[in-house]
């Protein structure tokens, strides 16, 4: 790694009572990289993500964001410059779509006119119809639309880093696929550094540049899909077997050429 990482975890440990949620993890995420953290529930992947913007504080080890030790940064300021997409949206039900998207710029004290323009820009970016959705409350949106608003909100203050906590987990397969692809192209277009949590290896392989595998608080392996497939760890190989089997079955079940 020639340049400094965008996010760097060095020997991070975090316990909740007797449970070691994150156990001596070191992991670097390069600028412009799309990293997926894969693991089952209780593997510590969500804890690892939240440590980056200090929603959770580490017991030991050092975390750097853009080269700075996060302990030296005000947590509120830190969170305002890192986009965060919550599981199932996390939209505020009493605020309109526009107010939800514009919340972080508003907290940063940006002028109202700038925020309004930015909201329109973002609605276009996440492919939501401006007039139909701008003033609606979240409850009037479908799950996919809600998650698009969630992505727009995360991007509102033009962050360089976006953290995503199982962002597409609750969506139907078609919406999930479309949203994943759309986000992937946003990631590239805006030059973002993205860390996404998922329990779905197929999704991780399809979207991410690199994958980190966690289990019981430990980082078992990290690398590109190709690198992971050469891993000697049984659990990592087990995780990779599912997408492989799916590919094989799909290949036998679906005609090789057709209207796909």
């Amino acid at each position: 790694m020639p340049s400094r990482p965008m996010i760097g975890y060095a020997q991070i440990t975090k316990s909740f009572g007797a449970l070691k949620a994150v156990d001596d993890v070191s992991l670097d995420i390069a600028e412009g990289e799309f990293l997926a953290i894969v693991g089952g529930s209780g593997s510590g992947k969500t804890t690892l993500l939240r440590l980056a913007n200090r929603l959770i504080e580490a017991d030991s080890g050092t975390i750097t964001v853009e080269g700075e030790d996060v302990q030296n940064v005000d947590p509120v300021a830190l969170r305002r410059r890192i986009g965060y997409v919550f599981q199932s949206g996390g939209l505020f039900p009493h605020l309109s779509v526009a107010d939800n998207i514009g919340i972080t710029p508003k907290l940063l004290g940006r002028p109202a006119a700038d925020i309004a323009a930015r909201v329109d820009e973002l609605l276009e970016l996440v492919q939501l119809d401006r007039d139909a959705h701008r003033d609606r409350l979240p409850e009037a949106l479908s799950g996919g639309q809600r998650q698009r608003v969630g992505v727009a909100r995360a991007l509102a203050a033009k962050p360089r880093i976006v953290l995503m906590d199982e962002p597409f987990g609750a969506l139907d397969p078609l919406t999930r696929d479309a949203l994943g692809d759309d986000y992937r192209s946003l990631h590239r277009k805006l030059g973002l550094t993205t860390v996404m949590i998922t329990h779905d290896m197929t999704e991780a392989i399809l979207l991410a540049d690199r994958i980190a595998v966690m289990r019981s608080g430990k980082l078992l392996a990290q690398g590109t899909p190709a690198e992971l497939s050469r891993s000697s760890d049984a659990y990592v190989l087990e995780l990779l077997r599912t997408p492989r089997r799916q590919v094989a079955r799909l290949n036998t079940l679906l005609p090789q050429s057709g209207a796909a």
């Binding site: 913007n53 929603l55 509120v76 300021a77 969170r79 305002r80 965060y84 919550f86 599981q87 199932s88 996390g90 939209l91 505020f92 039900p93 009493h94 919340i103 972080t104 907290l107 940063l108 409350l137 909100r153 203050a157």
Partner: protein
């Protein structure tokens, strides 16, 4: 329709601006204070389980104290505080009326506000609080822009409950000197004026209902995020408050305040005193329905300028004397003692209103009972009823001691119902009052007290310290002294106990003046 032809409806209506205005004012102040204290407490303790539990427990305990007792407790408490602040800082304040009522009612309003506040704040999806933090809100920003708006519907429901409780309980602030819609109910109960009782009940119920519905509109507006509902409800509350407060705002000085305790004779006499002062060109208002212990303190503090008390009552309650002295001696000693507090004992009205044991005349004849001593031999098989204070008064102890009285059962009753109860045989003996007109009405007799266990109870006119040198006041009152004998007072009380238009305290006071005012 003849029900509403009764002129007492008109009389009740005439009091409405004053009573309702005061009722709204005290309820509003109490609710505002209750909210100002409870909401921050709910916010502070929402994620601190131990203080939260203590706070809710305390508020629940307050809630179990009967409203009347809670209100009554604040009066001596404030008197104490006022005397302390006077001694330490040289400032005093009135412990009478508005302040104790507001404090007690505010305390009463706290439980629903606290409980719903905490429930509302704790009921928010933790993911949303996390999201608020995640988008970069400080704790305060999260509270103001996310948590409070989301908890608001539940909080509003608590505020609604508190408002209804406060409006209902405020009727009980009459005995501590705060005018309220309770004035109708207390006066009506004491003078058997059911029109007043009904009017007071309806008025406070309607007020509570209106406020509840308007707050409900605001609540549903907040729930459905509908601006016009919230706006309409708020405008309705504002209009209601303005409409009830404006008519009474203009009045400032009320001149002399004539106090009255909570029974018919006092209502009549205070009306008589007020009329006399007004006839002499002195502006005066009557403040009726004051608790027996409240009224003396109010006179001493100058919140009440004059009222009628009874020598034996002051002897026992204020001088804390348990010995019994002959009438003249007791009066002289009382006068000296009161003078130490700068209270003027202007003189006696001419009648006595002492406690006395009363039984139906027929029963007395059948059992050959003429005195309390005769009664004592039958007492173990008989039941006795007295007013709320009788059995804890020194007279009762003195009676028991002097005659060895011991009844089968004893119970407490609303004074006006006692006479009917003894006449119908529901109780055998009652502790009545010598000046009560109902003794004649129900064909009862008052038993003699040959051992003089009950002290004399001359009706005496007391003036507040600040009125001790008021010549005009004293001149206006002098014509009443020594003029009202027991027969006249009994007749007046009997009239007041009727249930028609001629039985209102004002009407009886006029009759009484016509009777005793002639030179």
């Amino acid at each position: 329709m003849s029900l509403f032809a009764d002129p007492r409806w008109g009389e009740a209506l005439a009091h409405l601006p004053d009573y309702l205005g005061n009722h709204v004012r005290v309820s509003l102040a109490a609710l505002a204070l209750g909210l100002a204290v409870s909401l921050p407490l709910a916010i502070l303790t929402r994620d601190r389980p131990a203080p939260r539990a203590i706070l809710l427990a305390l508020a629940s305990i307050v809630q179990t104290v009967p409203g009347l007792a809670l209100l009554a407790l604040f009066y001596p408490l404030l008197l104490l505080v006022a005397s302390v602040t006077l001694a330490w800082f040289g400032v005093s304040f009135s412990a009478f009326g508005f302040l104790p009522a507001v404090l007690a009612l505010a305390l009463y309003s706290m439980l629903p506000v606290l409980r719903n506040g905490i429930t509302g704040l704790n009921g928010i999806d933790p993911a949303l609080i996390e999201a608020a933090k995640g988008v970069g809100m400080t704790a305060r920003q999260s509270l103001v822009t996310v948590e409070l708006p989301l908890a608001l519907p539940v909080m509003m429901a608590g505020i609604r409950t508190a408002a209804v409780w406060v409006i209902g309980t405020a009727t009980l602030s009459t005995p501590i000197g705060q005018t309220s819609l309770g004035n109708y109910i207390f006066a009506g109960l004491q003078t058997q004026n059911w029109v007043f009782v009904l009017f007071g009940c309806f008025a406070s119920a309607l007020l509570a209902l209106a406020v509840d519905q308007l707050l409900g509109l605001i609540e549903s507006g907040l729930r459905q995020r509908s601006r016009w509902r919230t706006g309409l409800g708020t405008a309705g509350i504002a209009a209601l408050v303005a409409a009830t407060l404006v008519p009474t705002m203009g009045r400032s000085s009320q001149g002399y305040v004539v106090g009255a305790k909570t029974f018919a004779e006092q209502y009549v006499l205070s009306a008589l005193l007020r009329d006399r002062l007004q006839a002499a060109g002195l502006p005066a208002t009557a403040r009726s329905g004051l608790g027996s212990s409240v009224i003396f303190g109010a006179l001493k503090a100058g919140d009440v300028d004059l009222y009628i008390d009874y020598s034996g009552t002051l002897w026992a309650n204020q001088l804390h004397r348990t010995d019994i002295k002959p009438r003249a001696e007791l009066l002289a000693e009382l006068k000296t003692a009161l003078a130490k507090d700068n209270i003027t004992l202007l003189g006696e009205l001419g009648f006595e209103n002492a406690y006395t044991l009363v039984i139906p005349k027929k029963r007395a004849e059948a059992l050959h009972i003429r005195t309390i001593a005769d009664l004592a031999t039958h007492a173990p098989t008989l039941s006795i009823a007295g007013d709320y204070e009788f059995f804890s008064r020194p007279e009762w102890a003195a009676l028991q001691k002097a005659y060895g009285l011991s009844f089968r059962t004893q119970r407490q009753m609303q004074p006006d119902f006692m006479y009917a109860a003894v006449a119908s045989g529901e109780v055998d003996v009652i502790a009545g009052y010598t000046s009560d007109g109902l003794i004649a009405k129900y064909d009862l007799i008052a038993l003699d007290d040959p051992r003089h266990a009950i002290p004399p109870y001359d009706a005496i006119l007391l003036l507040a310290p600040k009125r001790s040198g008021d010549e005009r006041l004293q001149a206006a009152l002098k014509p009443l002294l020594g003029k009202i004998d027991i027969t006249t007072m009994r007749e007046a009380n009997l009239r007041a106990s009727g249930n028609d238009a001629n039985s209102s305290p004002d009407a009886v006071a006029k009759w009484l003046w016509e009777k005793v005012g002639k030179p």
